[in-house]
Amino acid sequence: MVQTKKQKYLFLAFCLVPTFLLFAIFTLYPLVSGLYYSFFRWSGSASNMEFIGLSNYVRMFNDSIIPRTIMHDYFLVVTKVFGIMILATFFAVAIMQLKIKEAPFYRIIFFFPNIMSVVVIGILWTFIYNPSLGLVNSALEFVGLGNLTRPWLGSETWALPSIVFPSVWAGIGLFMLMLMGGIGTISKSYYEAAELDGATEWQQFWKVTLPLIWPQIKVSILYIVITTLNGSFILVQVMTGGGPNNSTHVMGSYLYQQAFVQYNFGYGAAIGVMILVLSLVTVFLLQILLRREKVQY
């Protein structure tokens, strides 16, 4: 039953070659293509292209909307990381440690937004924010806070913060499950020992739970950052289209506008390269910032 070396390599090739081919076709090829097209003036809707060297990158550095899109992206990153992680941790701890009978029900409820399409979520929240028919303004009026009502998505000031809520709401469930998995692996004896030593529940959370689920928290934060930088444009596109007056444009939605609305595909590709570089740098910095000694008791 012992495999020869050749057989082993053949089996490995059988497993790896198709995977590598898929990776090459769907990841490497678009990546290299994006970089290639960023050196051209190309409308994206015809075959003729003109090589213009680094002109798209020069244009990008002079484009006053680009810094705004970067700020908007990182605003979403920061608010989503804090919003999702705080709430997901709270719910995970509550469900796992408070021993609520309805825990499975809450698990389903919190996870429910994750099985919905982001586009559906965007449309749903567009209705919730509707100035005249929406739930938010109606609720504010109902509780006597009518003076706080406003056209949330139509305001240059409030549109971007308004997008944070659906982003957080849609993200909690997945990370809550990840943290619950982490909490589930912690031996009960640690809590019993802590309790015998007189630790309060708050202290147990900070000294036992949090350090032991740090790997899950780290992965969750990295995942939120990457998906926000690469995917936040979907909600923006559906809810505001980047408006009003570019006040919600993130890098991805601006890329879309340039490439597919203004027919500057080459410039859009250059923005895509910028997103890649910023994502890599951000993840690299986060890896350093979140580095901690592995805790074992």
Binding site: Q3, S45, A46, S132, G154, T240, P244, Q262
Partner: protein, 457 residues
């Protein structure tokens, strides 16, 4: 078992098969015209008796048309009739609301359809001309005659767009943006239908007081609606075709001219009086139209597509009324700037003769009348009498009469549509002005910056 499972030739064959399968699945395939999505249909006339038709025109003819507010029933009728007239032609239709995006890969790979109707999101006539995708029709169209023997170009309401004197498309749909209101409500409440900017402001003020609503709405998601529907005709009224041409071309200093500034001051006045719905920044195309139909607002500037597109949502007591956007000064006639949706032939059309035959076939009185009956809009052909036609909605008959009366309406023209690279930044800044977040001076400065960027300075 071991021997069988790890058999080298079997493994190699499996790997190669998987790889080939993957490559085949990902490879380009243009054999199936139109690809996926949309509404691709084939009318094959090859079974018909060839001797009964026009023998010169044959082969496959691919037609791409966008289906939006005007629906597709008119297209179906025309294509069916063309098929009967030219039985040797096999017609392949590429149609749907997203057809421009769905056909993009065909255009990129220089394998376009023969005929294209340029309309809807994802299509741009100026871009297609810039990219050399459309056939130069200048010589051909000058030789095309109408049914009565007169040159077709003499019978068009609006001439084709001119790109350095060359013609690349023939305007098919004579759409015009204007301002819609609820005629039934106006008659019931005794509101005056505006005839100029002063009366417009008076009526909006009266409605605001009586109904407690912001009288004016547009979509903030697409700021160009206001630009095309209100400002462009207003600029036409203020400065004529010359000003419109300078704006479309992004001439230096055009936004600082007196006639432009005076027009923009009217917009500021509307904003300061609170006549513009403060939620408009969030409204998309459908929401703004829906709010208008529900009576949340009294005026909306959109094109002739509105009644047809929203036909299923019109309240029982609602009656469409249409006027050109009234931003002109008292004593001046209304102004409209036609927003044309053209028909063009691809530069790389595989069957240009059939494509030309189709374009020629469409521009007749019969199909112009049918167009109004099917869509509630006007085809770009003169001499179509809609006044006695019971199948045409009343607002269209009235609008048609108005448009054909120079005392009431003055028609202005742009040389070609505004480029998205110019329209987008100006539209964004305009939105901010209409929300009250930007002063007129700031808007003008940003509009001038946009024109400078457009000129490449």
């Amino acid at each position: 078992m071991k021997k069988y499972f790890l058999n080298k030739p079997a493994l190699m064959a499996g790997t190669v098969l998987l790889s080939v399968g993957l490559l085949a699945a990902c490879g380009g395939d243009n054999e199936e015209a139109g690809g996926q999505g949309g509404n691709d249909q084939e009318n094959n006339g090859s079974n018909n008796d060839a001797s009964g038709g026009n023998g010169d025109i044959s082969g496959e003819l691919e037609i791409q048309y966008f289906v939006g507010g005007y629906g597709d029933s008119w297209w179906k009728e025309v294509i069916e009739d063309f098929q009967a007239e030219y039985p040797d032609v096999t017609i392949v239709e590429h149609a749907g609301p997203n057809i421009n995006d769905e056909m993009r890969s065909r255009w990129v790979s220089d394998d376009p359809p023969d005929v294209v109707y340029i309309d809807g999101a994802g299509s741009s006539e100026t871009q297609m001309v810039d990219d050399g995708q459309l056939m130069n029709l200048t010589d051909w169209i000058n030789d095309v005659d109408s049914e009565d023997g007169s040159p077709l170009l003499d019978n068009l309401i609006v001439e084709p767009a001119s790109y350095d004197g060359e013609i690349y498309s023939i305007p098919l749909v004579f759409d015009t943006w204007g301002t819609w209101y609820n005629r039934a409500k106006f008659e019931e409440e005794g509101y005056e239908v505006p005839s100029d900017f002063d009366s417009y402001m008076d009526t909006m003020g009266e409605i605001q007081d009586n109904e407690d609503i912001s009288p004016f709405v547009t979509t903030g998601e697409h700021p160009y609606y206001f630009l095309r529907g209100v400002l462009t005709p207003a600029f036409g009224a203020a400065g004529g075709d010359e000003l419109l041409a300078d704006i479309v071309r992004g001439e230096e200093g055009v936004w600082e001219r007196d006639e432009v500034v005076e027009t923009m001051e009217k917009v500021v006045q509307m904003q300061e009086e609170g006549y513009i719905d403060d939620g408009f920044g969030a409204f998309n195309h459908t929401q703004s139209q829906m709010n208008f139909l529900l009576g949340d607002n009294a005026f909306i500037p959109v094109g002739f597509w509105l009644p047809n597109e929203m036909a299923n949502d019109v309240p029982d007591d609602f009656e469409f009324g249409f006027i050109p956007s009234p931003l002109q000064d008292a004593g001046e006639p209304f102004a409209i700037v036609p927003d044309l949706r053209p028909l063009a032939i691809a530069e790389n059309a595989e069957n240009p003769e059939a494509a030309k035959a189709f374009v020629e076939f469409v521009f007749t009185q019969e199909y112009a009348t049918a167009f109004s009956e099917h869509t509630g809009a006007i085809m770009n052909l003169e001499g179509v009498d809609l006044s006695e036609n019971e199948n045409v909605p009343p607002y269209l008959i009235e609008a048609n009469d108005m448009i054909n009366d120079p005392d009431q309406v003055q028609i202005y023209h742009r040389p070609h549509p505004m480029s998205a690279d110019l329209e987008t930044p100006i539209g964004n800044s305009l939105l901010s002005l209409m929300l009250g977040n930007k002063s007129l001076d700031e808007f003008i400065e940003e509009a001038e910056n946009a024109t400078a960027d457009y000129r490449g300075e």
